[in-house]
Symmetry: C2
Subunit: 348 residues, 2 copies
C-alpha cells in the first residue's frame, strides 16, 4: 500500500494554545494541508508509522496547560501536533528492532503518519489475533495501569472489599474484572445509569451506583459496604475520596491512580478526612504506569490468556476519523465515553 | 514503704464531661477525697501501681470527645479518672509476671495509685540506670512511635532529605536524631524561636524554622529544601501537609503519625495538593504505634545503647504534681511544652 517514494497528505490535530479550565474543541485544530514522504530519511534510526488507532487519555489534559514547574508529563507545544498513545503499522524503518509491516503501540502523533525518531519507546505487538484497537486500552497503557495499580499497589487478597471510581472507563472496567478474578467483592461508581448497568451486567461487578444521583456519597458507600472498604482504586479524587476515607477499613490501601474531577479546576477541592489515614493505618500510594514497563509482558500474558478464555471482556467507545478526535478527548471530562475512548484513523 | 494493709489517700484527675473544640482546664477536675487500699484484692490477677510519672499525649484529646462511630481509641468515661501512659512502681501484685518493687510503664490512671486489672499490657522496665521518666517519652510510647514511624514506615536511606513537623516535641526531637544517625539531611518546624534554636543547637538538626513566623509555608520549605523532600514525618496535618505535598520529591514517603492541628477543629481543614501523591509517586502511610509492640525491645536496645554513647539526647518538660496535670495536657495544643510533656506524681 504505502509507496515509499510517495508524498501523501497528512491530516493532523494541533493544539492551538495553552488552556486553563475545561478544554474545548476550539482549543484544537484539524489541519489538512501537510504532506509527508513515506520514507525514513537516510542517516536516521527512525520509524515511519501509519497511525491506526489513537487513544484519548485524561492525563493529556495536563499537557495542554503551561507549567512553570515541570509537570510529570511534558507540556505540549502550541501550534504543534498533539501526541499521545496509539497503535500503528510500520511503513518504513531504519531501526533494527522494527521492520515494514510490524504493528506497534506507543507514543505517536495525532495525525495520519508519524515519524518516530526515538522508536525505542514503541512496543512491538505480539498478539495480533485480538482487535488491534485493544492496544490503546485493554492491552495498552490503561490496561497496564489497571494491572499495576491493582496488583502491585493494592496487593489484593481474596475476599477483600474493593471500590473503584470512574469504574466503567478504560482503566476501571478492567480493575473490576481483575478484582473479581481475585475473589474480591467489587463495587463501582459511574456517572450514568447506563454505565451502572454495564458494571453490573457486563463487567460482573457485585454492585454499582450512579454518583451523580447520590446526594450523600458517604451514605451511598455505607449502603454498598456495610463492613467498609479494604481497597479503593482512586480515579476521581475530590469529594469521592473524602467520602471513601470515612469508609475505609483498618489497614486499607488506596491506589492513587487518577483524580480526574480535579484536572480542570484552577483550585483543587480540599479533602478533609485525612485523619482516617492515621486512625485506620491506611496506605495511600501514587504511581505512574510509565515507571513499570519492565512488567509489561507479564501483564500481557496474564490478560490475553484470560481474554481468550472469555474471562475478561472490554468495552470501547470508538470515534471515527481524526475529525472526531478533539471532541472525543474532551468528552472524557464530561463522562461522554462509554468504555475506552479511542479514535480510528485507519483500520489498517 | 508501701504498707500493704493501709488505706491511703488517692488524689485523681477526672474528666468532667465530653468536650468539643479546644480542651480547657475546667473540663477536668482534681479530686482529693478518694482512698485506696494498698493491696490487690484476693482472687484477682491485678497489679497495684504507685504512679510516678504520667505522660501527656495529644491522642488523649480524642478520648475526651464522644464518638458515635468508635474512634481508634476508646472514649473516656465522664466522671471517671483519666487514663494514659505512665511509669509506676509495683506496690502489690497477684500477677505472676510482676512483683513488688518492679518498675513498669504502660496504661495507668491519672491518680496516685492505680489498680491495673489487665497487667498484661504493662511493660517491665529493663534499664533502670536511665531516668525513669524517660519511659513516658524517649523509651516509652512517643519514642517508640518515632522509631516505628521513621524506620518502619519511612524506610530512610542515607543522604535523603527529611522534614519533621512539631519537631521539638516528644516524638519529633527523636525522629530528627534518628534521621541524623541515618545520615539524612534534617529540617524541623516548630512554633517558637526557642524551639527552633533547640532543634539546631541541641538536637543537631541541619536547619529549622518557626512556622508561626512564615506567612508562606511553601516558600519556607523551598528555602530549606531547594531539592525537595524525600521523607516527611507528619505530626501536624492541615496547611503544613498541603505545603509539603508541593515540595515532595519523586518516590517520597509520608509517615502519617499525627495531625495535631486538626484535633480540636469541628470541621477539618481541606488539603488541596493531593494530586502530588500521584504525580510524584508518593506513599503516605498511617500507623498506630500500639500495632507494633512486638518490636519494642529492638527499639529499646537500639535507643538505650545510643543514649549511653551520648549520641542521643532528650528534652523533657516536667510538671510537678497532679495539680498541674490538666494544664500540662492542655498546653500541648498551644505548644506550651518544651520537649516531652510529663507530670511527676512521685519521684519514687
Ligand atoms: N497513574 C497512571 O499511570 C494512570 C494511567 C492511566 C490513567 N490514569 C488515571 O485513571 C483515571 C481513569 O482513566 P481512564 O483512561 O480509565 O479514563 P475513563 O475512565 O475511560 O474516562 C474518564 C471518566 O472519568 C469520569 N469523570 C470525568 N469527570 C469526572 C468528575 N468530575 N468526577 C467524577 N468522574 C469524572 C467520567 O466517567 P463517569 O461518567 O463515571 O463520570 C469519564 O468517562 C483517570 O483519572 C486517569 O488520569 C492514571
Ligand atoms: N501514630 C501514633 O501511634 C502516634 C503516637 C504518638 C504520637 N502521635 C502523634 O505525634 C504527634 C506529636 O506528638 P508528641 O507526643 O510528640 O507531641 P508534642 O510534639 O510533644 O506536643 C504537641 C506539639 O504539637 C504542636 N502543635 C500544637 N498545635 C499545633 C498546631 N495547630 N499546628 C502545628 N503544631 C501544633 C506544638 O508544638 P509547636 O510549638 O511546634 O507548635 C506542641 O508542642 C501528634 O500529632 C500525636 O498525635 C502519634
Amino acid at each position: 500500500m504505502a509507496n515509499g517514494e510517495a508524498e501523501v497528505r497528512n491530516k493532523k490535530v494541533l493544539l492551538k494554545h495553552f488552556i486553563t479550565g475545561f478544554p474545548r474543541e476550539s482549543d484544537m485544530e484539524l489541519v489538512e494541508s501537510d504532506t509527508v514522504r513515506l520514507k525514513v530519511p537516510e542517516g536516521s534510526t527512525a520509524v515511519l508509522l501509519k497511525n491506526l488507532y489513537l487513544s484519548c487519555d485524561p492525563y493529556m489534559r495536563f499537557r495542554m496547560s503551561k507549567h512553570v514547574e515541570p509537570s510529570f508529563v511534558p507540556d505540549f507545544t502550541p501550534g504543534e501536533v498533539i501526541s499521545g498513545s496509539g497503535v500503528g503499522k510500520v511503513v518504513d524503518s531504519k531501526h533494527p528492532d522494527f521492520k515494514e509491516g510490524d504493528y506497534v503501540w506507543g507514543m505517536t502523533g495525532w495525525e495520519e503518519y508519524s515519524l518516530i525518531t526515538s522508536p525505542e519507546g514503541l512496543v512491538k505487538i505480539k498478539y495480533i489475533d485480538v482487535p488491534l484497537s485493544y492496544y490503546t486500552g485493554l492491552l495498552g497503557m490503561p490496561g497496564f495501569t489497571a494491572y499495576i495499580g491493582f496488583f502491585e499497589i493494592c496487593k489484593p487478597k481474596q475476599g477483600e472489599f474493593v471500590f473503584i471510581s470512574a469504574a466503567s472507563g478504560a482503566v476501571g472496567q478492567l480493575v473490576g474484572q481483575y478484582a473479581k478474578l481475585t475473589g474480591c467483592y467489587v463495587v463501582g461508581s459511574a456517572g450514568s445509569d447506563e454505565k451502572v448497568s454495564l458494571l453490573k451486567h457486563k463487567f460482573g461487578f457485585d454492585d454499582a451506583f450512579n454518583y451523580k444521583k447520590e446526594n450523600d456519597l458517604d451514605a451511598a458507600l455505607k449502603r454498598c459496604f456495610p463492613e467498609g472498604i479494604d481497597i479503593y482504586f482512586e480515579n476521581v479524587g475530590g469529594a469521592m475520596l473524602d467520602a471513601v476515607l470515612l469508609n475505609m477499613r483498618l489497614h486499607g490501601r488506596i491506589s492513587a491512580c487518577g483524580m480526574i474531577s480535579q484536572y480542570n479546576l484552577e483550585e483543587h477541592e480540599g479533602v478533609r478526612n485525612l485523619l482516617s489515614i492515621l486512625a485506620k493505618r491506611i496506605r495511600m500510594e501514587g504511581f505512574v504506569v510509565f515507571d513499570h514497563y519492565h512488567n509489561y509482558s507479564e501483564f500481557v500474558e496474564y490478560t490475553v490468556s484470560r481474554l481468550k478464555e472469555g474471562k475478561i471482556t472490554y468495552l470501547e467507545d470508538v470515534a471515527e476519523g481524526l475529525e472526531k478526535a478533539s471532541g472525543a478527548l474532551i468528552g472524557l471530562f464530561y463522562g461522554r465515553n462509554l468504555g475506552k475512548q479511542l479514535v480510528v484513523v485507519a483500520r489498517q
